[in-house]
């Protein structure tokens, strides 16, 4: 019986040794450090096994052979200073033997030398944010959230679970191979821990503090991990995915991302003048709500009593719209209510707020448009305090003059070169965001002006479009935004730039058209 038990224990330990690379042992990982850690782990494990084997053999020998039932008589000894010193000293020596490689690995891990890429990692309930700070000598401005992409239906077992269930995100962190990447960790709310087993990196993200860790990955691939510190309700649902690429591909990716970011900014800007109808907003709003809000406030809008407030009968959803927008955009400090201003686009925000005000039988009829949401978004383009003259930020004068009507303008005709000069500047300020400086637009998002029917076609249509915009598109009306002179200059520029030579438009032409319309 007892021998069987001894064997049984061996069997328990064996799989660990035999299947060192399968899912029952620590991962060897893809960095030098993770390999070191794995070796360290195996060394200590095997030392422990050997000690266990020796010690328990003695015990089981005794259990088998020194039984009363076999007629064993108890010996009388009950101490031996020699033996006791021995079995105090030997473990100390074994420990020293373990401590040496452990110390070496630890020193290699805590290496404060310069890194090639620095990324700030911010944890918040329950997602990660990555901010690329520097790459070599280059300063980067790229940041995004990385949120679990496993659908709720898989979690609630209504749908077949995918292979990467709970370990997939909408946008992984991308880093290059063969470069020392420094992570700076911090948190917006509670403590989280960023862990990728394959890198042997696990570090806490502590609110108000920064922590750092670094890695240098040898092999390209996709590596997955999870938040490792209990951070509240959805602790199980904030995975980490790192996409490791070659430095060339990584640099390519960086460029793409920066372009994408500027496009997004333009699209956001364009949404300022688009109105959506109720049905459209409600449909989008429902999707956004299910994906972002229902985990806490529930699909029914009733929340969880005592934990997450009901939206259905809340003063927020039935009261002042502005307050509602404010709480969705900026969250509620000290609660699980997050700020969504940077996570969702203005269209999504408008949709979800509209949805919350009209779903569950509330039917307030309030329709919130993207522009309503954008007004509340902070803009940093304000001047630095006058007493501190070093860094005044200039505000384009045209933008301020929203109250100027065209009729008040001095209608002085300008010559073509003046108009072109003025027009180029005004175009870059007002139009190039979408249509680009090249006039080529952005495929799929904003039409090209160069070679377009509008520029080639009748002047009246061109003026009309610039004055009044085009409904249901991003093309806004500039009538109230720009002076007639500026509009004239822009149109002149558009018709004469990019290798074309065309008509000259004067402020009076624009004014005439405005008056004609009235």
């Amino acid at each position: 019986m007892t021998l069987v038990r001894a064997v049984a224990y061996l069997i328990f330990f064996l799989p660990e040794i035999a299947f060192a690379n399968s899912a029952i042992n620590m991962r060897q990982g893809v960095t030098d450090i993770s390999e070191d850690v794995y070796q360290l782990h195996m060394t200590i494990f095997i030392i422990c096994c050997v000690i266990a084997l020796l010690v328990f053999s003695v015990m089981f020998w005794s259990i088998v052979n020194h039984r009363k039932s076999k007629g064993a008589k108890a010996a009388q000894f009950h101490e031996s200073t020699k033996v006791e010193i021995l079995w105090t000293a030997i473990p100390v020596l074994i420990l020293i033997a373990m401590a040496i490689p452990a110390t070496q690995t630890l020193i290699r891990m805590e290496d404060p030398s310069k890194s090639d890429l620095t990324i700030k990692v911010t944890g918040s309930q329950w997602k990660w944010h990555y901010q690329y700070l520097t790459y070599g000598q280059q300063t980067l401005d790229l940041g995004f959230y990385s949120i679990i992409s496993t659908p709720q239906s898989q979690i609630t077992n209504q749908q077949q679970k995918s292979e990467t269930y709970l370990l997939e995100v909408d946008k992984p962190l991308v880093i290059p191979t063969g470069k020392k990447v420094r992570f700076l960790f911090t948190s917006d709310d509670v403590i989280h821990a960023w862990w990728i087993p394959d890198f042997a990196v696990k570090k806490d993200a502590v609110p108000g503090f920064i922590n750092e860790a670094w890695t240098n990955v040898n092999i390209e691939g996709i590596y997955r991990g999870q938040c490792a510190e209990l951070c509240g309700k959805s602790h199980a649902f904030m995975p980490i995915v790192v996409d490791v690429r070659s430095p060339e591909q990584f640099e390519q990716w960086l460029i793409e991302q920066q372009q994408l970011a500027s496009q997004q900014a333009q699209q956001e800007d364009a949404l300022k003048d688009v109105s959506f109808n109720m049905d459209e907003l409600m449909a989008l709003g429902k999707d956004v709500y299910e994906a972002n809000c229902s985990v806490c406030h529930q699909s029914t809008g009733q929340g969880l009593p005592g934990l997450f407030p009901s939206l259905k009968d809340s003063p927020i959803t039935s009261g002042d719209v502005q307050q509602h927008i404010d709480i969705v955009l900026h969250g509620k400090p000290g609660s699980a209510m997050q700020a969504f201003s940077k996570q969702l686009s203005s269209k999504q925000l408008a949709a979800v707020i509209t949805y919350e005000r009209n779903a569950w039988g509330l039917n307030s009829g309030d329709v919130v448009q993207p522009r309503d949401v954008q007004v509340n978004e902070p803009s940093a383009d304000r001047p630095v305090k006058a007493s501190q003259p070093t860094l005044a930020i200039e505000i384009p004068t045209e933008k301020k003059s929203t109250n100027n009507t065209a009729s008040q303008d001095p209608l002085v005709d300008l010559d073509k070169s003046q108009l072109m000069q003025l027009g180029e500047q005004a175009y870059l300020e007002n139009c190039a965001m979408c249509h680009q400086a090249s006039g080529l637009g952005l495929t799929g998002a904003f039409p090209a002006l160069k070679g377009s029917a509008m520029i080639e076609g009748p002047i009246e249509q061109h003026i009309e479009l610039v004055l009044n915009g085009k409904e249901l598109t991003a093309m806004m009306a500039f009538k109230d935004k720009l002076s007639a002179a500026t509009i004239a200059a822009i149109i002149t520029y558009e018709r004469n730039a990019w290798g074309r030579s065309g008509e000259v438009i004067q402020a009076s032409d624009v004014n005439n058209q405005i008056k004609g319309a009235e």
């Binding site: 700070l133 520097t134 300063t139 922590n211 750092e212 902070p378 630095v384």
Partner: protein, 172 residues
Amino acid sequence: MNQHRPLLKRLVISSVFMFAFAFALVPLYDVFCQVTGLNGKPSMEKAPISDSINTTQQVDVNFLTHAKEGSPFKVNTKNQRLTVNIGEMNKVSFIASNLSNQDRVFQAIPSVSPGVAAQYLHKVQCFCFEQQALKANENIEMTLLFYIDEALPIEIEEMTLSYTLFDITDNI
């Protein structure tokens, strides 16, 4: 009972003492952090001006500001990274903006990484020493004047000074 009283008294006093000790751990922890560089807490005291420069040793100092998402504040600096000589006085300007339509007050909490470097970063002037009150939509320029102690271990080639901004308007 009487024979137990002296011992009982001592034990009760010990437990009360240990309760007080738990609170004494708070200042002790700060001292401990400063001595060992635990947790990268730099001093919040004004440091004396540096009197010597060592031009043979340089260190990269990165500046980072972190405001919680949705925070009404934003702090930027043009100098995200400076390579400084040891002992050299350096000035960094930060622009703080109040993005909200109300007057607000924030407190910047500094944190240094790697933690051991915290004790070698001396701030002669820092906006984190005081609460910063900003009027609605106001932008102000703030200054950090610092130098790196000569005792900085040579293996530290890069360090980060991070400021987390907390909106303390409601807590004053």
